[in-house]
């Protein structure tokens, strides 16, 4: 039982590490996902092709392989960055493919007439997308984006298996110090539950305020 009280700072660091990783990677995933989704619905063929390749390749890549490639591959080009940045890159790019698909199917739920009306007002593609379609699509993608971000938080555990400043990674330190391993995992599991529940609570609020009535 004293696994938690004795090592509160270790768990705390790990917990904050996971939260930090999740927040930064989520931001990257949302930005990249948004970009790729607009590529995939763009009128220019080469943009669409690029978006499609991005999504298809990343969705079919095992995240462990991506971590392995980013973590040990990028340094070979003379890039010197802390591990955390590499982890955010890998997690963010991976999740962006799923976010992109969620956004794209959201865009597809907006009735055609909306776009036609916008264009008849003389709006360009960019204006139509950002001022008319996306604000409406946003309402129907809250739930799928939320579950993708929950998946991201859970996937951050892989970063912990490679390096230490993350919730799952704390088990290594505590195991070496000889603490009860079962209890260590109970607290780690609780930490993840708190994070995933928090994300789903946030998205429930968003859903209630802006979501499409079902």
């Amino acid at each position: 039982m004293n696994v938690l009280t004795d090592n509160f700072s270790t768990f705390g660091d790990g917990f904050l590490g996971t939260v930090e990783l999740t927040v930064y990677a989520s931001l990257l995933a949302l930005v990249l996902g948004f970009l790729m989704a607009s590529f995939r619905v763009a009128p220019v063929g080469s943009f669409r092709a690029f978006g499609t390749v991005w999504v298809t390749v990343l969705r079919n890549t095992p995240l462990t392989l991506l971590f392995f490639a980013v973590l040990l591959g990028l340094p070979r080009f003379g890039l010197v960055l802390p591990f955390k940045v590499f982890a955010v890159l890998a997690l963010g790019c991976y999740t962006s493919a799923f976010i992109c698909e969620a956004l794209r199917s959201g865009i597809n739920t907006v009735p055609k007439g909306q776009g036609e009306a916008a264009r008849s007002l003389g709006m360009s593609f960019g204006q139509t997308l950002s001022m008319v379609i996306l604000p409406q699509a946003f309402r129907s993608v809250i739930a799928p984006v939320g579950s993708n971000l929950i998946a991201l938080a859970k996937n951050s555990a892989i970063a912990g298996a490679f390096s230490v400043t993350e919730l799952l990674g704390t088990y290594k330190t505590l195991n070496e110090l000889g603490y009860n391993i079962i209890w260590t995992f109970v607290w780690i599991a609780l930490g993840y539950l708190i994070i995933t529940l928090a994300i789903s609570a946030i998205f429930n609020i968003l859903e209630q305020r802006w979501g499409v009535a079902r």
Binding site: V44, P62, F77, F98, I158, Y171, I181
Partner: protein, 288 residues
């Protein structure tokens, strides 16, 4: 999915001659930009000496090829075992969730929600480190629990999405609940669920690479063994170039199979009575 009918045309009209020209220009420019990026990456690869003979020659040796094949075999072995077990567990848990007995339903719901909320890697590590199990069984247990729970939800929503008339008609014929399930609902739902099930199996296949982190000697592990060998001048990039196409290719094949099945089903009259959403990554959001 219904929205697919009007696709992306909601965003732009059929372009006129001027716009076509402009789009062509954009197309050429962006293609050039992508080509420049590729060229730059190739330059970097050459510049950092990733294509030297020392880094690539290990792949010429039979010993190394066999090592990679052994790894690939282990990956597929872990995948096959976990896929079968996950399907079985999924069926069992779905049965639990559809049960008429409240305690059974509660237990099944609790298990499904818990295993979906936990990172699969935490479960694998728990079994491996805390319960001191061998790498392969630890990996299989983790993958089975997670994918089994997700599949349970797929099964349940598949059965629940069947038109009420099917069930009512079956009961009207005097069938018992088990008969209604096994003779009427499940056979129809199963066909409709097939794409969602295969998509989830892609997740399981991808996640077998987590075995790498618990020293299971799978494909990525074999790659790392070669990549981190100082004798071969750390052929890291070559290893990634060899193993990622194989990994991605395997997953893509399975994904495409799922899409193909789903396309076939959309035309099939046998699945009209059910509509199944693709499996979402584990979620706690209600109202799906």
């Amino acid at each position: 999915m219904k929205a697919l009918a009007h696709d992306s045309t909601a965003l732009y009209d059929i372009p006129g001659p001027k716009t076509v020209r402009r789009h062509k220009l954009y197309g050429v420019l962006s293609t050039l930009a992508v080509l420049a990026l590729v060229a730059w990456i190739l330059y970097l690869l050459f510049d950092t000496e990733q294509f030297t003979a020392t880094k690539w020659s290990p792949f010429e040796y039979e010993g190394i090829q066999e090592l990679l094949l052994r790894g690939l075999g282990n990956t597929l072995k872990a995948f096959a075992i976990s896929a079968v077990l996950a399907l079985a567990l999924g069926g069992l848990l779905a049965m639990g969730r559809l049960s008429d007995h409240r305690p059974v339903r509660w237990v099944a719901t609790l298990l499904v929600e818990f295993f979906r909320a936990m990172p699969v890697l935490v479960m694998i590590f728990f079994v491996f480190v805390a319960l001191k199990v061998q790498p392969l069984p630890a990996l299989v247990v983790g993958l089975t629990l997670y994918n089994g729970s997700v599949l349970a939800e797929v099964f349940r929503s598949g059965v629940n999405s069947m038109e009420r008339g099917q069930k009512e008609a079956a009961y009207a014929l005097g069938m018992r609940k088990t008969q209604v399930m096994s003779h009427v609902l499940v056979p129809q739902a199963l066909r409709a669920m097939l794409p969602a099930i295969i998509s989830q199996l892609v997740v399981a296949l991808k996640d077998t690479s987590l075995g790498f982190l618990i020293t299971y000697e799978e494909f990525l592990h074999a790659g790392k063994l070669i990549a981190s060998n100082l004798d071969y001048d750390l052929p890291f990039i070559p290893v990634v170039m060899v193993i990622s196409p194989i990994y991605i290719g395997m997953c893509m094949l399975l994904s495409w199979f799922a899409q193909w099945v789903s396309k076939r089903q959309r035309r099939s009259p046998k699945t009209e009575a059910a509509e199944v959403a693709p499996a979402e990554p584990g979620t706690l959001l209600p109202g799906r």
